[in-house]
């Protein structure tokens, strides 16, 4: 875009860094660094890509949050998607980001190599189009994501219902941004001082899911854009609140985000979905009312009904050395995971954080290989 240059302007960056340093110097001194969690995987990626963490003073650090939908996908959801892709007469459609996430028996890509029907689509409307063109097949869309992608799935399901497209279904693992933040803030082991809020989720939700953070936990929140200048300005705005002992939700990403979000998108979501009693998160366990399921009028589109009921194994499979849970909750830095860069690389991911370019481990691996000796 035309105005992107301004948001990467080195002079502006240098000025912001000066402001951040000055603000940080005025914070009360303490032993542990001030931890600012960037909630969104898009922010994590930008921080590594532009090396923004290296511009911060020693007493301030980024902690990478749970806002990458691929990173929080539990293995069981991938297993269900694989089972559907292997089902005769079924085509499983997925966003490209999800096809490399390992399930207990491999990823969707591996399943496709073994003959399963998997198609990468740009969005749910493309999957719906496949359903229109192939009335003889069951087209299943793997609907994952936060409030940013849920409206698109809702609109596709509304169209399917309107047009009576009975061979289109969704395997839903849509999640909400507020519950994991509540879980992290309630964890007494974590000490997060401020939050960089996800600008694109807020396009839909507005600031409402973040209001509880200052209200109940007295921590500042700044909803941020994705360019270097956006993120640094957000850091500065957070430090300024901390310095002044304030805690409120501020909008840095004012050129796009609004406090009220997009009501048409929310209306579509509210018609098609309802809160699920509980939803499983990789790394965070099962959180109540943290995800969406199809509302009664849309249950006929639920792809889970096509699955053979399977005895729950109960056991959490996977490598016990995998550090995903600790990294996802900000307790561990990626290179401190024993698998990082050894068994687990972007080409051979053991965990979902190494799959998506928005995952903290993949971003660290891609942009920080040169400092691999940071590792202890």
């Amino acid at each position: 875009m035309k105005y992107v240059d301004e948001f990467r302007d080195p002079a502006l960056v240098a000025q912001l860094v000066k402001r951040i340093d000055a603000s940080a110097a005025r914070l009360p001194s303490r032993q542990q660094p001030w931890q600012l969690m960037e909630v969104c995987g898009g922010h994590t990626h930008a921080i590594f890509r532009f090396g923004l963490d290296r511009l911060l003073p020693d007493c301030v650090e980024f902690v990478h949050g749970p806002g990458c939908p691929v990173c929080v996908l539990p293995e069981t959801v991938i297993d269900q998607a694989v089972a559907l892709a292997q089902r005769p007469g079924t085509l499983l459609c997925s966003y490209g980001d999800a096809v490399r996430v390992p399930g207990t028996g491999g990823s969707l890509l591996e399943a496709r190599a073994g003959g399963a029907a998997v198609e990468v689509v740009y969005g749910p409307r493309d999957a719906l189009e496949l359903a229109r063109r192939h009335p003889d097949k069951d087209i299943v869309f793997l609907a994952i994501g936060f409030e940013t992608t849920a409206p698109a799935t809702a609109l596709a399901l509304q169209a399917a219902r309107r047009e009576g497209i009975g061979n289109f279904r969704a395997l839903c693992h849509l999640v909400l941004i507020e519950p994991p933040l509540r879980a992290l803030l309630a964890d007494p082991q974590l000490c997060l001082d401020g939050f960089i809020g996800p600008g694109h989720v807020s396009l839909v939700t507005g600031t409402r899911p973040f209001d509880f953070i200052p209200a109940q936990y007295r921590r500042p929140v700044v909803i941020s854009g994705f360019e270097p200048v956006d993120l640094l300005q957000s850091v500065w705005m957070l430090l300024r609140q901390l310095e002044q002992g304030k805690a409120c939700v501020e909008l840095q990403y004012r050129r796009v985000a609004t406090t009220s979000g997009n009501s048409a998108a929310r209306a579509a979501m509210e018609e098609v979905f309802e809160p699920a009693p509980s939803t499983e998160w990789r790394g965070l366990g099962s959180l109540p009312h943290s995800g969406l399921q199809l509302a009664p009028e849309y249950r006929a589109f639920d792809a889970a009904a096509l699955l053979e009921p399977r005895a729950a194994t109960g056991a959490e499979p996977g490598d016990p050395r995998c550090g995903c849970a600790a990294v996802l909750s900000g307790r561990m830095k990626p290179p401190h995971c024993p698998l990082f860069g050894r068994e687990c690389t972007p080409a051979t991911p053991s965990g979902p954080l190494m799959v998506s370019s928005e995952g903290a481990c993949a971003a660290w691996y891609q942009y920080r290989q040169e400092s691999a000796d940071d590792r202890r």
Binding site: M1, R19, P69, Y122, A152, L203, Q233
Partner: protein, 82 residues
Amino acid sequence: MCLAVPAQVLSISDPSRALALADSGGVQREIELSCVIADGPPETLIGAWVLVHVGVALAQISEQEALASLALWAELDDGDGA
């Protein structure tokens, strides 16, 4: 998948479904405008910039908004009490 992509609306491809052809960095795709048209006809958005998430436009962005945020950066120069 979770990053919004800016795109400029080129033409309306299916007015009944609020579908439009849009250009995003030289790549043309069909996008859905139903969340960004209040009540007016989709044609009013031709030429407009929108932020698109997995095929659905979720916000309109204007040059004005870009300028407004630039004004925000200008605050930095003025030393606004920080």
